[in-house]
């Protein structure tokens, strides 16, 4: 048997609906249609009345989920694309994220964001919004990069008593496969050494994990052992695991598909340089998408986002330092 990243997301929702009566799913076309990407396939039929089509009203979708959560429900929202969550950012960042701190009443909602670029996605169906949400206090931001994490972290997200922004990567939906779903997995909050190495550390997450792994394979042939840290969650960030890796390698490259200003890479570098300055044998480097909207044309898109080639080239520079 083999299961895709997308199927893992469907399976996690299936299990959550099965295990917990308080779970329901709400989003555009998630009902009998099964969602734009089929992440809720068959669920409406299997759980009548609990997988509900929403009008094109992202603000009201989130607002109502916040209210329902106060009645003991655990809503799972699907945004059709991460990009469209922009019109719900007020409910997410100002209403959901502040509720526990203001009132002491937790707000257990999960917002699924189909994120990241694909060929032909263009400026408004390709965004990686994790770093925008991460600026808001009161949110947990998950960025699974493997089939196993997509499954176990979504299940955990639904159980967590705080609002979770679940950034699943569209590029991985069909491309990524695993043999089976995990029974146990690293918990949310822990980063994973996705590849052990000794010459440099790459800190990355989501689809870029796989570009980094490819780059490391290539560099292996040149005699370099690259260690790769998969962040898994970008808020919180598992700084200890990163520092331990940098302590081993002395070199740091951060890779993210998001826009360059601020964001995960800058946050990781700031933590490492502030807490592990002495561990670094070379200036920490980062690689992001370019500072323009995300291009439609595949040739432009491939240049806009970091690729394994670009990562390898950055690593060579870093290793030569």
């Amino acid at each position: 048997m083999s299961i895709t990243y997308l199927e893992a997301i469907q399976a996690a929702q299936d299990k959550a609906l099965e295990d917990n009566e308080s779970v329901y799913i709400y989003g555009q076309d998630v009902g009998s249609f099964g969602g734009a990407f089929k992440a809720t396939k068959n669920l409406a039929k299997k759980y009548p009345g609990r997988v509900i089509d929403a009008p094109i009203s992202e603000d009201a979708m989130v607002g109502s989920a916040i209210g329902a959560s106060a009645e003991g429900m655990r809503p799972v929202l699907e945004m059709q694309f991460a990009d469209f969550s922009t019109v719900a950012i007020n409910q997410i960042g100002n209403q959901a994220a502040t509720q526990f701190w203001r009132t002491g009443v937790p707000c257990p909602i999960t917002v699924r964001l189909p994120s990241g670029g694909t060929e032909g996605g263009g400026p408004f169906h390709s965004q990686s919004m994790e770093a925008i949400y991460a600026q808001y206090p009161g949110l947990i931001i998950l960025t699974p990069g493997t089939v196993e994490d997509a499954y176990s972290m979504l299940l955990e997200a639904i159980e967590i008593d705080d609002p979770v922004i679940f950034c699943e990567h569209k590029y991985l939906y069909y491309h990524l496969k695993a043999d089976r779903l995990p029974h146990k997995n690293l918990p949310v909050g822990k980063a994973r050494i996705a590849r052990a190495g000794k010459h440099a550390t790459v800190v990355t997450y989501s689809a870029m994990l796989h570009e980094a792994l490819l780059a490391a394979d290539g560099l292996k042939e040149e005699g370099w052992d690259i260690e790769i840290v998969d962040l898994r969650s970008i808020k919180p960030i598992d700084t200890d695991t990163i520092l331990a890796s940098v302590a081993r390698t002395g070199r740091l490259l951060c890779v993210s598909e998001a826009f360059p200003w601020g964001g995960v890479n800058a946050e990781v570098i700031s933590r490492v340089t502030s807490e592990g300055f002495h561990l670094l044998d070379a200036p920490p480097q980062r690689l992001n998408a370019k500072d323009t909207p995300i291009p439609f044309h595949p040739d432009l898109w491939k240049t806009h986002r970091p690729t394994s080639q670009a990562i390898a080239s950055s690593l060579r520079n870093l290793l030569r330092y």
């Binding site: 106060a70 209403q95 526990f100």
Partner: protein
Amino acid sequence: MAEAEIKVAKKESSDPASQYRAAFRYMLLARTFEERTASLYRAGKIVGGVFMGKGQEAFSVGLALALDKEREDIYGPLIRDQAGRLAFGEQLIDAARTYLGSVKGPMRARDGNVHRGNIHDGMIPMISHLGSHISVVSGRLIGKRFNNKSNFVGGVCIGDGGTSTGAFHEALNQAAVEKLPLVVAVADNQFAYSTSTERQFACKDLVDRAIGYGFEGYSIDGTNLDVCLETFDKAVNRAREGHGPQLVIGHLLRLCGHGEHDDASYISDERKKQAFGGDCLQIAQQHLLDSGISNKIEISQWTSDIVKQVEDATSAAQREPGPDPFQETWQALSTSHLSEGNATT
């Protein structure tokens, strides 16, 4: 205590006269309390904005009195709903604590003034972004439906200006699609801050929006307590009985500045003489006297009771401690082990 007595009057009696008497006393309590907050604000004892419901108490109390906490009704007040909050069951001391920064208030001094609420008690603690609390109230109703409850209603307040927000629209449409027992009370007080309604919308009456959402609609004189009580009673009952969402527009005039920092010099005296320009509290008092439902002596007794209540609450709150920054956890998450604390600073 007079406050408790008002509540008894509300619950125990459904005869119009007692209801009117109770409503009037909530209005008077709200007015008196707000005037006190205004003077505390001017004295520098309250920070942040002080927004008064002066002129809207009848409309505000109308919705809240029609709601029933025992049936798990939900209430989503806004900045001018002191009267409604009290009628819904807010303790005066909690209002005073919130304004005066007591750590014992429901928001523990983390949030202030009109932003207070009590989620478990069914009173939504508004955030400032107008319109965004409506879908939260709807969500409460959706949640109750999932939990196989019935007979509940949600009542939510907004101003004329707030109807221009995208959040308002999405929430009303969603409530109609879900056929929720939601009553939306729009206090058309002719102004949003300094902006009068001609610059806010172009329909004749905001009730004209009801049909476009599939709501039942009511357009009423918001200065007339009788009309308010009756209309909200009807709207809440219709919602409770499954007739779907209800839109009630109350026509009235904001009889104060937007906040206490604003002298409202842009509101002309003529405006106050026009239709719906009157003071609902005075009108209600006159009605009490004219109809013989109450009398001068009783009203003056109520007034002095209320003044004392307000005095007691504000002075008690003022004696309470403020928050201690060193006792704060400074964690925005309930899941402590995922909280980063000061990882980033």
